[in-house]
Amino acid sequence: MSGRLERRFAATRGAGRAALVSFITAGDPDFDISLALLKALPGAGADIIELGMPFTDPMADGPAIQAASLRALKAGQTMVRTLEMVRAFRAGDSETPLILMGYYNPIYIYGNERFLADAKAAGVDGLIIVDLPPEEDGELCLPAQAAGIDFIRLATPTTDDARLAKVLSNAGGFVYYVSITGITGTAAADPDAVSGAISRIKAHTALPVAVGFGVSTPQQAGAIAAAGADGVVVGSALVRALEKSLEEAGEGAGIAAVSDLVRGLADGIATAGRKKAETAAQAG
């Protein structure tokens, strides 16, 4: 496990709360605003950053993240520029874990070896590659581990116990539980179902479990944290907040709008952590 991810989860666990994993798309709406936003996220309350590598055909994503990818590509975002953003971020922040999320083709074309070397040098801690299931571990998962980058595995409601062992076999960093059968940002996660799934995954692994795909409000983030998640991932809601503020108020407003939402989400998670501690204290 990467030092930064391990330390961050240990810290949030020590503080009695879940980690907030905040997703934005690299280069959305352009390189400069996106970099400024990236730098603002930790101060607003993001514990871990998930940075999307834009792709023309994001098959697991809903309309919000598709649109963000296309905005970024239109503004000239490339893999080289995405790694440049990571380096610029890392220059001012050596502790916040940063993971890259995306689809395999842009990496494959960049060159797997070159990508892993450049990503490691830039300060990337982990990878989430949607279209690389365990069946394709030889492609990038095992080389990433060898290069010292965690390959973060997705588990879903369709991943049964028999399959869970396979999914977790080469997992690193944390397990990302996809809380709905669907695409990003289109349905709300059911905290009860999520709670059961987290217990099931934790029976198979000591890795932290972060939950995403169906979380957009501070209340939902709090509920997912209360359901036992070690991390709560919010993506489409942040991307939508950025899009909305750009449309309504222009460039400068985007960073403030996203930061406000991140602050709210962090509060939601912190509140859930406090309630849990109070309940535990009363029970004790």
Binding site: N105, P106, Y108, I109, P133, P134, L154, V178
Partner: protein, 411 residues
């Protein structure tokens, strides 16, 4: 005997895919985790079905009585005279129920879906022929049917849109990306991820994650198997060359696959060159693309230097896709199939020529294959037997052809 069998398997071009779903480096299962259990379930169901004589018998019954197979292998006498070389036969897939080869595959997948207890069928379509075939069999078996179709294709293939609606299917126009077949496939995958319990994804070509390239190929191989028997009956020997158009490549694979191990048979796949390969506006992934990963498989793809998928262009909606089936990619690399390409202009000329010479209006897709027959046939001897797959009929294309050449047709 054991040794003989295993040597044959090793030396065969027909033994793929391997257990990872690969043809050489191509193919595979590059899908989101949510879909993995579903495609593994499909693989198991297909393995069971193809070993079950009852499944084969059920397929054969519908192929005969509903689809209207076997389709004729027709000696195109006037086309042969016109070319002045090879003896040209047309495999008449356009005479199938629904007017194209697509129904062969859809029938297989729908019968499989029924065995699996699935009640809702989704499909992507470009020209609309796969959508029509899917809507047709869903009507026949009382299944819900949702067809994803790019908005651009909805506009240029109106007759097929109306046919699908008549058959009770829901058509979802796709407005993302280039609004053509690639984007329709993205949306179908998004639907499948969202509706895992009751939904079967009926893919229309020899692409997508394993096992689709294999099972679509198997269902389409009836084309080549019939051709073999029909040619033996007509000429007492096997053909000397095979030609078919390729978008994803299902009609081509159906014709080619049963002949891959006949070393003397020349095999040609014809991609859509659009405005010309050098123009950059084409759909020829072999001629103008390189290996990458999209829609669940590794194959030749049209893309930019950053791995972003390019928009394909072809006058034919059915070929307007930036990829090709993985088995074709492998056959290209090992040199078993020769890939050619035909431009929009060449296809339009061939479309008109075949209509006037043989009284057969082809779809724009096989018109690309006919265009290359015009190049290849004159150089062959009179005893060279050439088979071209006439994969679909041209009714759906009349409006767009009229738009290009004027409603009066070209003199």
């Amino acid at each position: 005997m054991e040794t003989g069998v295993s040597v044959k398997a090793v030396n065969s071009f027909r033994s793929g895919p391997d257990e990872q779903g690969r043809f050489g480096i191509y193919g595979g299962r590059f899908v989101a985790e949510t879909l993995m259990p579903l495609i593994l379930e499909l693989e198991r169901a297909y393995e069971a079905a193809r070993k079950d004589p009852a499944f084969r018998a059920e397929m054969d019954g519908y192929l005969t009585h509903y689809v209207g197979r076997p389709s004729p292998l027709y000696f195109a006498e006037r086309l042969t005279e016109h070319c002045g070389g090879a003896k040209i036969y047309l495999k008449r897939e356009e005479l199938n129920h629904t007017g194209a080869h697509k129904v062969n595959n859809v029938l297989g997948q729908i019968l499989l879906a029924r065995r699996m207890g699935k009640t809702r069928i989704i499909a992507e379509t470009g020209a609309g022929m796969h959508g029509v075939a899917t809507a047709t069999l869903c009507a026949r078996f009382g299944l819900d049917c949702v067809v994803y179709m790019g908005e651009v294709d909805v506009a240029r293939q109106q007759p097929n849109v109306f046919r699908m609606k008549m058959l009770g299917a829901e058509i979802v126009p796709v407005r993302s990306g280039a609004k053509t077949l690639k984007d329709a496939m993205n949306e179908a995958l998004r639907d499948w991820v969202s509706n895992v319990a009751d939904t079967f994804y009926c893919i229309g070509t020899v692409a997508g994650p394993h096992p689709y390239p294999m099972l679509v190929r198997d269902f389409q191989s009836v084309i080549g198997e019939e051709t073999r028997a029909q040619m033996l009956e007509a000429e007492g020997r096997l053909p000397d060359s095979l030609i078919a158009c390729i978008g994803g490549g299902s009609n081509a694979m159906g014709l080619f696959h049963p002949f891959l191990d006949e070393p003397d048979i020349e095999i040609y796949g014809v991609e859509a060159a659009g405005h010309g390969i050098e123009s950059g506006q084409h759909a020829a992934s072999i001629a103008g693309g390189r290996p990458g990963v999209l829609h669940g498989n590794r194959t030749y793809l049209l893309m930019d230097d950053d791995g972003q998928i390019s928009e394909a262009h072809s006058i034919s909606a059915g070929l307007d896709y930036p990829g090709i089936g993985p088995e074709h990619a492998w056959l290209k690399d090992i040199g078993r199939v020769t890939f050619l390409s035909a431009t929009d202009e060449e296809a339009l000329s061939a479309f008109q020529l075949l209509s006037r010479l043989e009284g057969i209006i082809p779809a724009l897709e096989p018109a690309h294959a006919i265009a290359k027959v015009l190049d290849l046939a004159p150089g062959k001897d009179a005893d060279h037997l050439m088979v071209v797959n006439l994969s679909g009929r041209g009714d759906k294309d009349l409006a767009s052809v009229a738009e290009h050449i004027g409603a009066g047709g070209r003199p």
